[in-house]
């Protein structure tokens, strides 16, 4: 069933990889003892591995081509996930099931699982926040973590110096981050695409470096410890209870965020953001104030990062600048892109995958991050549009039942 030509191709690929990985994977030297270690077995594994993988990839491609061909013959079918989201008949029960699952989670699983899930849900909110900026408004922001840091440090510092409580700082942290978003947005939002990306990256680094170096202000790299967990009407909660409590808090925030983002997307503002993403010139020509609309998106995204930042500080009870590196921004961005730009469901799935994956990959111990990197590449190569694409709302009008084009791709 498999042509000889392909076998030959796979053999060539495996030779290439054997060559490619030769110095790094096979040779290990100790310059002091002057010993060279030749690990030929590694080359053998690589050769076999790449041979098998290339065959598998080829088989997959052939199958995919066949499937695509068949698809063209029959009517275009939507992907499975897409269909669920489009059909209220499936979406609502599914949403309710998810909600029930979410609410009962701490009862079903251990404290550790709850804690991990809390982290994942925090990233859901972060992803949804960044989604407004990147996915909806099309502004590539590589320094999103700066606003997250602002939120976290707002709570840590305001609590340290002025003894302000969690509930007071929660909105305050969000607002501070949003304010900073506006402050930064003014000068840089006229930059285009990748230039904006690098400036926001630089900005994120500047914030982190200031937190690291300005010790008088932020206590520097040693960070701020003993940040109180959020209180519940003055009741002191035990450790396990505390985790459950924060879990529900974050779950509430997730629901709130979904609600708000969903409403925003189908509003005058949301349409303006989408239009901005698709064509800036046409957008302006239609009377949309580019700067103002971008600023709103940017600061609104920042607001969410600030909120989650405050919760982060309260959950971890400790903040230091090491938590707010570029890698963090990259992961949040990956959540948005991997899930499907602009899609709420996509972002949720993306966050769950990317945050839970490394946790459950712990079994792989040192191969964990290797696998993580590989998964990112593979997911993008096979699903470049993300797991779920955006679904725009369709409108119906009385007396025009015969409206064409109700089905989206």
């Amino acid at each position: 069933m498999f042509p000889v030509k392909e076998l030959k191709r796979s053999a060539l690929i495996s030779l290439w990889f054997a060559f490619l990985t030769f110095p790094i994977l096979v040779v290990k030297v100790d310059p002091l003892e002057r010993i060279v270690q030749w690990r030929w077995s590694n080359m053998f594994y690589i050769a076999i591995g790449s041979f098998v993988l290339s065959i598998l990839a080829k088989v997959y491609m052939i199958r995919k081509e066949r499937r695509d061909a068949r698809k063209k013959e029959t009517a275009a079918t939507e992907p499975f996930a897409q269909r669920i989201i489009r059909e209220p008949r499936f979406l609502y029960p599914l949403a309710i099931a998810c909600l029930i699952f979410g609410v009962s989670f701490p009862f079903l699983f251990s404290v550790y699982q709850t804690n991990i899930m809390t982290t994942a849900l925090m990233y859901v909110v972060l992803g949804l926040g960044l989604n407004i900026v990147v996915g909806v408004a099309g502004l590539l922001d590589l320094g999103y973590v700066a606003f997250y840091a602002v939120g976290a440090y707002s709570y840590a510092l305001l609590n340290l110096h002025f003894d302000l409580g969690f509930w007071l700082v929660l909105p305050l942290g969000g607002l501070l981050a949003a304010f900073l978003g506006i402050l930064l947005g003014f000068p840089v939002l006229r930059l285009r695409g990748d230039y904006l990306a690098i400036v926001t990256l630089g900005f994120g680094e500047i914030i982190r470096l200031i937190l690291e170096n300005w010790s008088e202000f932020s206590q520097g790299p040693s960070g701020i410890a003993n940040i109180p967990r959020p209180g519940l009407f003055g009741i002191d909660i035990s450790f396990g209870g505390g985790i459950t409590y924060i879990y529900y808090l974050v779950l509430l925030l997730v629901i709130f965020t979904i609600f708000v983002v969903n409403r925003l997307q189908n509003s005058r503002l949301g349409r303006a953001w989408l239009a901005l993403r698709e064509d800036e010139i046409a957008c302006q020509a239609m009377g949309i104030d580019k700067t103002k609309t971008k600023l709103i998106a940017f600061s609104l995204g920042a607001f969410w990062a600030g909120l989650v930042g405050v919760i982060f500080a309260a959950k971890t009870t400790f903040v230091n600048p090491a938590s707010f590196t570029f890698l963090e921004s990259a992961i949040i961005l990956s959540i948005v892109v991997l899930g499907g730009m602009g899609s709420i469901v996509g972002v949720i799935i993306g966050a769950l995958i990317l945050i839970l994956l490394p946790e459950y990959l712990r079994a792989l111990s040192e191969y964990r991050m290797l696998a993580f990197g590989a998964v990112l590449v593979i997911m993008m190569v096979f699903k470049p549009n993300g797991i779920v694409s955006t679904v725009r709302r369709s409108y119906r009008f009385k007396g025009h039942a015969e409206i064409e084009g109700d089905s989206h791709e």
Partner: protein, 300 residues
């Protein structure tokens, strides 16, 4: 005055290294419009390959000059091989994909390569052999400009001139320029775009590998993580100069290197990176396409 000259040369050394890496960023960006986040890792792999080859050769008793040449060539060859493979695996399938997909793929590649070297070699820092000897004639000024600084500056200059000639006068250089300007047209006039893109990755990776070997020899140590920071800085430099522009990448790198050096010397090294990134933000506010980048005239 001595102090100024010292800082100036230290800035130039830094700038040269940034330039060698930044060129790869800028060339790839110019051709396929992708921020190749894994480029810093190519630089790291170049340094590691040079380390391994140089050590093996020195154990087998080769003379220093042979070691330098062979290690340099090996680093360039393998880095290029990695560059081409990455392009083939992680970027080429995504050429028609939305703009951000290859970016995420690049970030994933970067994480993968870091951990690949970490697992295959070591998590620790290792000593890089001194491939650049201390020249006797440099001794009088050694406290200001070291031999390795000199070698780095000279090598970078030679490489820049070579690259400029390559792009200006050779067939592949012309094909690269054509592809960068208009990919569809390039296909129409019979340029094999895939091959041009591969060539870009080869050249960019080889430059990064040479940079990796030089800097590793200059500071005497490497580990799997060195590519990340150098990569970000070089990328910043490329954008500063106007991404896509080759002289821009060099200019941006030099300005960035000098800024960092003078910021450390006259203000505080605490904030050297803050200065670097602030400079970037400032320049982009006043020149939104970087120093030598072409200002895009919107076609409406």
């Amino acid at each position: 005055m001595d102090y100024f000259i010292e800082l100036f040369f230290s800035g130039l050394t830094r700038g040269s290294i940034y330039a060698l890496i930044a060129l790869g960023y800028t060339m790839v960006y110019g051709i396929i419009g992708l921020i190749n986040f894994a480029h810093g890792e190519i630089y790291m792999i170049g340094a590691f390959t040079a380390f391994i080859v140089a050590t093996v050769l020195s154990i087998y008793g080769f003379p220093l000059l042979a070691i330098v040449v062979i290690a340099g060539v090996a680093a360039a060859v393998w880095s290029s091989a990695y560059g081409v493979t990455i392009e083939r695996l992680a970027y080429r399938p995504l050429r028609q994909a939305p703009r951000l997909a290859p970016l995420i793929s690049a970030i994933g590649m970067s994480i993968f390569l870091q951990n690949y070297v970490l697992l295959a070699q070591t998590s620790d820092f290792i000593r890089f052999p001194e491939l650049i000897p201390e020249f006797a004639f440099m001794e009088p000024v050694a406290h200001i400009v070291g031999s390795s600084d000199m070698v780095i500056l000279v090598t970078t200059a030679i490489v820049m001139i070579g690259l400029t000639c390559l792009i200006k006068y050779t067939k592949i250089g012309k094909a690269m320029r054509a592809t960068a300007q208009d990919k569809t047209m390039a296909v129409l006039v019979g340029i094999n775009v895939d091959r041009v893109i591969s060539a870009t990755f080869v050249i960019g990776s080889a430059l990064a590998a040479i940079g990796g070997m030089l800097i590793a020899s200059h500071i005497g140590q490497i580990n799997f993580y060195i590519g990340f920071i150098a990569g970000i800085k070089a990328f910043t430099a490329a954008v500063l100069g106007g991404i896509g522009s080759i002289p821009g990448a060099v200019l941006g790198s030099m300005i960035l290197g000098l800024t960092e050096s003078f910021a450390t010397g006259y203000v505080s090294s605490d904030y050297e990176d803050v200065f670097a990134f602030s400079l970037l933000v400032l320049i982009l506010i006043f020149k939104p396409s970087g120093l030598l980048g072409k200002a895009e005239i919107q076609k409406v």
